[in-house]
């Protein structure tokens, strides 16, 4: 059974990839501005809510959950999983070009592997159902369970 995706569904998968990674990066940047939170300074968590980077991060993470659930309503979990993993690649690229961190050879190799994984599943069907086993077919033929 082949399930081809529409343009809107591809856009939802792109949203799954981008919202989680950009949201995490925004939260990281916002919390770096707010400062370290510990048991004695829990009030900082309240202050964090007024940081624009933290607010934008929260909005994007809500968007991630909404788009992730939408994707799961028409695609297999094993199809959506590599798309969520692609978020690690986006985080690595954001940390390199936005936060100016160094990308090691290991990380470049990791990015290449995840890109390959996304490529493996992207061309396949988005939803599959395993054919029933011989035993299950026998039960259906005999009429049991009707």
């Amino acid at each position: 059974m082949k399930h081809r995706l529409t343009l809107l569904q591809y856009m939802i998968l792109v949203a799954v990839m981008l919202t989680a990674s950009v949201g995490d990066t925004l939260l990281s940047r916002g919390m770096a501005q707010v400062g370290a939170v510990d048991v004695h300074h829990l009030g900082l968590l309240w202050r964090a809510l007024f940081n624009p980077f933290v607010d934008a991060g929260i909005v994007l993470l809500i968007g991630f959950f909404a788009s992730y659930m939408t994707a799961l309503s028409w695609a297999d979990l094993t199809f959506v999983m590599p798309a969520t993993a692609f978020g690690y690649v986006v985080v690595a690229l954001l940390s390199r070009f936005w936060l100016h961190e160094q990308l090691s050879v290991y990380r470049c190799a990791g990015i290449a592997l995840i890109v390959c994984a996304v490529g493996f599943v992207a061309n396949g069907p988005s939803r599959t159902e395993r054919p029933p086993s011989h035993h299950e077919l026998d039960i259906m033929d005999s009429g049991a369970g009707r």
Binding site: M69, L72, D76, Y106, R107, G110, L113, A117, F120
Partner: protein
């Protein structure tokens, strides 16, 4: 001996975190599969109708509870295990565990290509954490 006990405790915590994540994601996936295409539901009953349909699914609520437990288990794990071990280990175990659980419980046809993708994601996450 202390090292072995510490390492056993650390890996037990990592396994619990991964187990909670797998249970949460499979339950949410099963809930969404049962509801059908959310875009269609939203077109028919609007955004409030879609939200109501999701929130009234017991499988979704069980999945969300598992994800919440996963969050707190991860916080506990991070208090005894380094992030550099906990993050890639839980992520890798979750990807492989999800593929196995999807085949068994969600009856997905996890073919060779998807197994390869899960293995590549595990290796990729491990390398990214270096």
């Amino acid at each position: 001996m202390a090292v072995h006990v510490g390492s056993l405790r650390a890996w037990s915590c990592i396994l619990v975190v991964a187990g909670m994540a797998i249970a949460g994601e499979c339950l949410v996936a099963a809930a969404m599969r049962g509801l059908g295409d959310l875009d269609v539901i939203r077109a028919k009953s609007g955004m409030p109708g879609a939200i109501k349909a999701v929130l009234s699914s017991p499988l979704f609520l069980a999945g969300a509870a598992c994800m919440a437990l996963n969050f707190f288990a991860m916080l506990f794990t991070l208090s005894i295990v380094d992030l550099s071990l906990a993050a890639p280990a839980t992520a890798s175990l979750t990807y492989i565990g999800n593929a196995i659980a999807a085949q068994i419980f969600l009856r997905e046809n996890v073919d060779q290509r998807r197994w390869l993708a899960a293995a590549f994601v595990c290796a990729g996450v491990f390398l990214l954490s270096k």
